[in-house]
Symmetry: C2
Subunit: 107 residues, 2 copies
């Protein structure tokens, strides 16, 4: 259910801003954090989450880490949304996977 994680991860406004700042191209952490209302470590944490969700890639370049968007990370979310437009095939496929696990009780 990676479209679920994509939703969760992109729900936070600050994290979304971080993600959007990569739309125009790869950037080091410094450049992303510049001008943001939160501290640089906060941005680092958000990047970590984005990376774990497969929405972002990291590559090292000397002492800096260059982050960039991973479009494939958005693909499943896109398909999920599309499935609400009555595409019967996708709807069936997704519904089959999404039988609700009653796990929340076991907390």
């Amino acid at each position: 259910m990676t479209y679920g994680s994509a939703l969760v991860v992109l729900a936070d406004p600050t994290r979304r801003e971080v993600f959007e700042r990569l739309r125009t191209g790869p950037r080091p952490v410094n450049a992303i954090a510049a001008g943001m209302p939160v501290s640089r470590p906060a941005v680092s944490q958000h990047l970590k989450v984005l990376k774990e969700a497969g929405l972002v890639e990291e590559r090292s370049e000397g002492v800096r880490r260059i982050y960039s968007v991973r479009r494939e990370g958005l693909a499943e979310l896109r398909a999920w949304i599309d499935s609400f437009w009555g595409d019967a095939l996708d709807a069936f496929k997704l519904e089959a996977e999404s039988s609700y696990q009653a796990k929340k009780r076991q907390r």
Copy 2:
């Protein structure tokens, strides 16, 4: 920034389940809550949030409230996602709107 609210609202797994149960068609609250691991009031609260976000519609039928999906509520989110696929026009349009409001500091 309604794609933002859509993301926030759909991020919660329980609320997403509620939303997905409407994919196959309009349903009263009872039917939605049946078999879910949370109480009926919880479902009501989720429906309220979904409705405020424009993702769901409500119509009264006697004593029951019938909820159904509002596809238009997903349209902007869909467009936002698409804008990451290099559609220059959409990307420009969306970026123009999304200059980060430094509101978080004022909490």
